[in-house]
């Protein structure tokens, strides 16, 4: 099989993984030696697909052969699809070639499980090692870790990779048992715990106090371990879990394994789906709302209880912060010149950046209505919820905002149909 055909199959099979992030790596370059590549603190999207997703990494599977039969997965054993497998050298060459064209930040390598977790993991590590050691590659490497691979292999993977991830796959252990009978939540979490402890150890070792003049020579610096940390992915809408259950699982994962990100992937219909799966794809909007809620929980001081509706779901119609504000009119209006930072962060339309600029501005003088335009704040969304010296919301302003949003949504939907 020629390389282009393999690439078509093995990139096509990787497109269900949402992550393409290349951020969080330690800053490094290749100017001082004959190496190739660099990383910055923040990642770079080198292109965008017509699906609106960032293309930052060469995201491929080593192989789409798989011994498992996970129902939601296009690569499951019983799936009747074309199969392929890359040679290690082929992935290395592709990565280096794409990198020199400046179309990627690095490699995101995942794989179906062949023979067993350890064998598969060893093959993936061999790719990363070749890039780093034979080719002096300083770009970004993200390795998908196979649950149940030995701890020794997890540690080796972390020496070459910037980021490791293990997919949690589904929000509850019961769903996993039903849809992915050969995977178990215990093994997934065990691997996450191994990554966390190896990451913690390497971090601690680099923070040793400076030695005194007569002290014995400094211990060798611990080898680096996945400096950009670990992430995971959860499929949304393949089982009956509520948004509340999903956010609870995320919160538990963030704190237990110190994850950098939980990615949500709306279940899409896969070719030749087995029975037992929903016949409809999950709305992409639900995935979007989960990301918004995830952000509110981590950076805006909201709690899970506050932002889901009584049925345990997030509003699809409006973003979770606006939904919360509409449901809690007693918190509003907020005085922009007096409210605390925490209160300001709960005002619809105010992000972390605008809150900081407002706080800085009001130290100099009182904020007035016209200043909001000057600070490029989403005025229409903010005004129903705030008081200013020359502005006070009228009864029904919030309701009118909602009606306006509904009308705008209908208009864009019509527009979409007109385009296609």
């Amino acid at each position: 099989m020629d390389i282009q055909r393999k690439l078509g199959i093995l990139a096509g099979a990787a497109k269900y993984d949402a992550s393409c992030a290349s951020s969080g790596a330690t800053r490094r370059g290749s100017i001082t030696d004959k190496g190739l590549g660099s990383t910055e603190r923040s990642g770079i999207c080198h292109s965008f697909g017509p699906d609106g997703r960032c293309i930052s990494l060469l995201k491929v599977l080593l192989t789409n052969w798989c011994v498992y039969d996970c129902q939601y997965c296009v690569n499951r054993r019983s799936s009747d699809i074309p199969r392929a497998r890359f040679q290690i050298e082929e992935i290395v060459r592709l990565t280096l070639d794409f990198y020199r064209r400046n179309v990627i930040e690095g490699l995101f390598l995942s794989s179906g499980v062949i023979r067993g977790p350890d064998y598969t993991m060893e093959q993936m590590i061999a790719v990363a090692r070749s890039l780093r050691e034979q080719h002096g590659f300083r770009g970004y490497i993200h390795l998908k870790t196979i649950p149940n691979a030995s701890e020794e292999l997890v540690r080796r993977a972390g020496r070459y990779a910037d980021r490791l991830s293990v997919n949690i796959e589904l929000p509850t252990a019961e769903s996993l048992t039903r849809l992915a009978p050969e995977k178990e939540a215990g093994a997934i979490k065990r691997t996450m715990a191994q990554i966390r402890s190896a990451h913690d150890e390497s971090g601690e070792a680099t923070r040793k106090p400076r030695s005194l003049p007569d002290a014995p020579p400094k211990p060798q610096r611990a080898p680096r371990f996945a400096p950009a940390g670990q992430s995971t992915q959860m499929i949304v809408g393949a089982d009956g879990s509520s948004d509340r259950a999903i956010l609870d699982t995320s919160a538990a994962l963030y704190s237990a394994y110190r994850l950098k990100r939980v990615y949500y992937s709306a279940f899409s219909l896969i070719p030749r789906a087995p029975p037992g799966l929903p016949v409809q794809a999950a709305p992409l909007l639900r995935e979007h709302r989960l990301y918004q809620a995830d952000w509110l929980l981590r950076f805006y001081g909201f709690g899970q209880d506050e932002i889901v509706m009584p049925d345990g779901m997030l509003s699809l119609e409006v973003d979770p912060k606006l939904a919360w504000a509409l449901a809690n009119p007693s918190h509003f209006p907020v005085d922009l010149n007096r409210a605390s930072k925490q209160q300001l962060l709960r005002v619809p339309g105010l992000g972390i950046r605008s809150v900081e600029r407002l706080l800085a501005g009001r130290r100099v003088r009182g904020i007035r209505r016209g200043d909001l335009d000057r600070l490029s704040i989403a005025v229409a969304k903010v005004l129903p919820f705030v008081v200013l010296p020359d502005h006070r919301p009228r009864d029904g302003d919030a309701r009118r905002l909602l009606a306006g949003l509904r009308q705008a949504r209908r208009a864009t939907q019509l527009d979409l149909f007109a385009e296609s």
Partner: protein, 257 residues
């Protein structure tokens, strides 16, 4: 007092600009008496009537202290394409000289304008890092060079060069743009005249693999053209080889649905 015309060597002559600003502040020349122009023969006639000085010949008076946060913003805003940037920058320095508190006010109109310019410049620098596309050319001696054509909106090329050196330090590469070209030979960066798109090489054989990847990684169940255009503005598409297949991919989706 008559107006004074100050000549900068180029769009990116930050040295000359700061030297002139120190002189003008030292002499107490108010912003409405200064005209900024570039050492471009096409511009000379326009300004014949006024007294003219080359920025780098002006004796700069030492001792102009500006807030560090202003200098950070100013260095970026200076690379903006709007000619008005010279006036806004000098006016802001003048007003900070009158009252240092002015720069502390995030609602000050000059500060807001400079911050907006610096944001636009920073974003353009980021996009240049993202969207430069190298193609391989092998010369008669068998030496490889990577050559790219790029059309930035602001005067950022020299400012982004260190990024490409850090990343591709062991490669020989050239980035051609309409205003200026930069070339790295593995040890020295040279800055040369602008170029034309035709000076850059056409697609090489290996590009087909990138195009194949771009087409395979697209998930047709998730078509979202608006998000794509936000992340990758249409004005860059003409220099992105993969953009040629966008229409085909999106149409294929529409027909299936």
């Amino acid at each position: 007092m008559n107006a004074l015309t100050v000549t900068l060597l180029s769009e990116t002559d930050w040295e000359g600009f700061s030297q002139a600003v120190r002189f003008l502040i030292g002499q107490g020349v108010p912003p409405n008496r200064v005209i900024w122009r570039l050492a471009d023969p096409r511009e000379i006639e326009l300004f014949e009537a006024t007294e003219t000085a080359a920025a780098r010949d002006l004796p700069a008076k030492a001792g102009l202290y500006l807030p560090a946060s202003f200098v950070d913003v100013a260095r970026l805003a200076f690379l903006h394409k709007a000619r008005a940037r010279f006036d806004v920058l000098y006016r802001t320095v003048w007003r900070i000289g009158e009252n240092r508190q002015r720069w502390q006010n995030p609602l000050d109109p000059d500060r807001l304008q400079l911050e907006q310019m610096s944001r636009q410049v920073r974003r353009e620098m980021h996009w240049m890092k993202a969207f430069v596309r190298f193609r391989r050319r092998v010369d008669a001696a068998g030496k490889q060079r990577y050559i790219a054509w790029f059309e930035p909106q602001h005067h950022i090329v020299e400012a982004v060069a260190p990024f490409f050196i850090r990343r591709f330090g062991a490669m020989r590469w050239v980035i051609l743009t309409p205003r200026v070209s930069i070339a790295w030979d593995g040890g020295v960066l040279s800055v040369g005249a602008g170029a034309k798109k035709a000076d850059a090489p056409p697609a090489d054989a290996g590009e087909a693999l990138w195009l194949a990847y771009y087409q395979s990684i697209f998930n047709p169940a998730r078509l979202n053209v608006r998000a794509m255009k936000k992340g990758m503005p249409v004005r860059y598409w003409s220099n992105l080889p993969e953009a040629a297949s966008i229409g085909l991919l999106a149409r294929g989706y529409s027909e299936k649905n």
